[in-house]
Amino acid sequence: MRVGVKLLLVAAAVAAAGVLIGLYVSKLTTLQGSASYTVPVKQVNGKPVVDLTLETVAAVGPKLSPNPDWVSYLVQNQQGVWEHRTVWKLPANATIHVTIYNFDSASGLRNPYLARPEGIDGNRITINGKPSDGINPNDASHTFAIPAYHLIVALPGVADNAKNQCGYAPCSLSMAHETVRFTFHTGAPGHFRWQCFVPCAAGWVYGWGGPMQTIGYMDGFIDVT
């Protein structure tokens, strides 16, 4: 074989390898991740305040995800549209008012201790407007927890016999839901994970597979900047 032909073949092999590696790396950077969402910041008395509105749904649906039957958190943007993102940018040293609409039914906490709210103002949440310092662990549907802040909030589930339950997300407020509100504070800048502690992933052993271990569903980050 002539040198020119050999050179061509080797160059083609190198180019093919480069393309494959590029595809591989780019596939990896988006695998099981979530795009980031910057929560809008208000200034109240010179201090940053944020309203974070979330919903938890029993099935995220085919429009928002390739896994339509997976449970998920969704965040509401300024236009009122529910986005499938679980990485949120929050300001540092700020007050965060959180509202979570839970459309999912209860499946119970693995560790009942996590039913007690911690790491939030007054260690109390309001459920549908009424204050509460903890729910029955068997009624827990999901939790919102930031372990680095020792923050745990357990969300009560929609009653099993409730009418007008939400099927696929996005869920509107006319469907059966529980509303939970609480407030916490961010500190110095950093990158903190949050997760749900109710193992409700149907079909996986211990309920911990699938959406419970995937960022974008029941896990995410808060980027405090």
């Binding site: 990896l28 695998l31 099981q32 991740g33 079909g203 996986w204 052993v205």
Partner: protein, 629 residues
């Protein structure tokens, strides 16, 4: 049945669509769909939990198995059995003696299989290395998130699994397949078709592992611990199938080696005249044949736990996570000696040539190899000292693990005394062998810390343990892998490799390797666990040092690849028959070795280490006509 090799070559079209890699891939794709839709049609509706997880797991497993089966059929592995069953004479395609098409199909020439292995394992080694570069890139900053946290775990898992699965056959695949028949004076392996089968099965397995990224990856690392294994995504099945197929390939490779070495030695080749490389291959092959089936069994149970919801390893349902740990490490510990022993064998084989002295303490060296092989079955619980195993067992395993360093030490003393008062030439293969002493010393001594339970309490599951096994496996096996390449590739291909380019490769790789892995001892001792994507800020400087060194190491390997291809494809300087002045039988043959190895079967009268004892008669009779296949 005439044994004359095929001289007629069919037309190109028939050759292209004959049984080869192309038909293998096509039938593999077909087999995939057969498995996929078959499972959907037959089982899909009956297992309700598939609907809950949005996936028919059984389909994925059967699709992959169908794909592998189709691939192997397409390559032609069923041709011989089917033809014989039906009473037809078998095709002689697999006995072709020339043409580069042999390298892309089923070929029963052990030399072709050896070269196929060299390139195949090399390919997956570089893919594993790419993953390592990505891992180190992610670890540049504690908060840096180039890859999402779950993907990082997949990277770690693919890197570890690829390396462990591929490098177990790293020496036996390319070099034992090529050289053992020659060294024992035979013309072929005992089971040539099985030999080719192990290669193509390994390639199929590697491809399956790479496709895990299309199914979400897997979160367990290369050890696949339960019950996390059962919690994994569909990509977990790719890992399980990969390793199970690797296990089958290993078992057959080991069996083939054992039968060949035991039954096909030429006249005069008694056990005390056997080259030490063959002894090393034998002790490794025994471990492969006995340990790999345990892996296959364990992974089959894990697969059943995942797909049909059995409970072998789920504690709350009556199983035990300890069962998995113990079964895995019963395989896992012999596995690491499968990786280390060929390195010992190569060092002991090459040192006499470059020190111009006989191998010192031949029987002690053999005792060392076999001793390591035997003792490796009695140490496995040192991987799970703090798991809560029975406290009475810990002193026992501490003792057995410390004891295994005694036969390992035999290799050191035999190598050192071979060098003593010799006439040492620093060629590239010799440099890699000398680096083995340095690397394996550090690896072995760190093993002393890990085998000591009080010390292990801090170092288990930390980067110290990572540094230990990278020093023994990469510093031990991979360095000797390159020694073997520089030493034997001229013989295998007939192309001379440049000493100057090789020495640049050596020094670049040796310095970068130590710069990468030596700080890991400190990082582990200072409290960083394995497989973590974030670490304390105080350790950032060390992690950055390691990452940059790792990139330099990666570049050294790329440099090797470039110069290797350049010399083999473009320069093609012809190699002499015996560039190193070795007394071993393969260097009495021309380069590359002719198709039938020997014109007549040799007769041995001594071992190949008689340096300083005067000229030895060649075992190969000259002037005789070509014999039968």
């Amino acid at each position: 049945m005439s044994a004359i090799a095929v001289a007629v070559r069919p037309p190109v079209v028939r050759r292209l669509l004959g049984f080869n890699l192309l038909t293998g891939v096509l039938l593999g794709i077909g087999g995939w769909y057969v498995g996929w839709f078959g499972a959907h049609a037959v089982v899909g509706p009956s297992l309700a939990y598939f609907a809950a997880i949005d996936f028919n797991e059984l389909s994925l497993v059967l699709a992959y198995l169908g794909g592998v089966t189709g691939f192997l059929i397409g390559l032609g592995f069923l041709n011989y059995p089917v033809k014989r069953l039906l009473g037809y004479p078998p095709s002689l395609r697999e006995k072709e003696t020339e043409g580069w098409g042999r390298y892309f199909s089923l070929c029963t020439d052990h030399k072709v299989v050896g070269i196929q292995y060299l390139w195949g394992i090399g390919l997956f080694f570089f893919i594993g290395g790419l993953n390592a570069m990505l891992i180190r890139f992610e670890l540049l900053r504690p908060d840096h998130q180039a890859f999402p946290a779950g993907t990082y775990l997949t990277l770690v898992g693919v890197h570890g699994s690829m390396m462990m699965g591929m490098m177990t056959s790293g020496i036996l695949g390319p070099f034992a397949n090529y050289l053992v028949p020659i060294m024992i004076g035979a013309r072929r392996m005992a089971f040539p078709r099985i030999e080719a089968f192990t290669f193509w099965l390994l390639m199929a397995a590697g491809a399956i592992l790479q496709t895990t990224i299309f199914w979400g990856g897997f979160p367990t690392g290369w050890t696949g611990y339960e019950p996390l294994n059962v919690e994994g995504y569909q990509g977990m099945d790719c890992y399980i199938l990969f390793f199970a197929l690797v296990g089958i390939s290993m078992t057959l490779l080991g069996l083939n080696m054992i039968v060949t070495i035991v039954t096909m030695r030429a006249p005069g080749l008694t056990w005390t005249r056997l080259p030490i490389f063959v002894w090393g291959v034998l002790s490794t092959a025994i471990l492969m044949a006995l340990a790999a089936p345990v892996l296959v069994a364990t992974l089959s149970m894990a697969l059943l736990d995942r797909v049909v919801q059995t409970n072998f390893f789920i504690p709350s349902q009556g199983g035990s996570s300890y069962l998995y740990e113990n079964l895995f490490w019963v395989f896992g510990h012999p596995e690491v000696y499968i990786l280390a022993l060929p390195g010992f064998a190569i060092v002991l084989e090459l040192l006499p040539v470059f020190a111009r002295k006989p191998l010192w303490g031949y029987r002690l060296a053999v005792a060392g190899l076999l001793g390591v092989s035997l003792l490796s079955w009695f140490v496995w619980q040192h991987h799970i000292f703090v798991s809560g195993i029975n406290g009475d067992l810990r002193p026992f395993y501490m003792l057995s693990t410390e004891l295994i360093s005694i036969p390992t030490g035999f290799t050191f003393i035999c190598g050192m005394m071979t060098l003593w008062r010799g006439n040492i030439r620093y060629t590239t293969p010799m440099l890699f062998c000398l680096a083995w002493f340095f690397n394996f010393l550090l690896g072995g001594l760190s093993g002393v810390f890990l085998s000591d339970v009080p010390s292990d309490v801090t170092t288990h599951g930390s980067f110290f343990s990572m540094a230990h096994f990278h020093y023994t496996i990469m510093g031990g096996l991979v360095f000797t892998f390159f020694a073997a390449i520089y030493y034997w590739v001229p013989k295998m291909t007939g192309v001379q490799l440049s000493e100057r380019l090789g020495k640049i490769h050596f020094w670049w790789m040796f310095l970068a390797f130590n710069s990468t892995f030596m700080p890991l001892f400190a990082i582990g001792f200072l409290g960083q666990p394995r497989r973590v994507v974030t670490y304390p800020k105080s350790l950032q400087f060390l992690n950055d040092w390691v990452s940059v060194s790792a990139f330099v190491l990666g570049l050294s390997l790329l440099y090797f690849l470039v110069t290797f291809v350049y010399q083999l494809v473009f320069v093609k300087k012809p190699a002499e028959a015996n560039p190193w002045g070795s007394r071993s039988i393969e260097f009495r043959l021309p380069s590359p070795v002719p198709v039938h190895n020997f014109d007549r079967i040799p007769v041995f009268s001594s071992d190949p280490y008689g340096y300083g004892e005067g000229p030895a008669p060649s075992p190969i009779p000259v002037g005789a006509p070509a014999g039968r296949d």
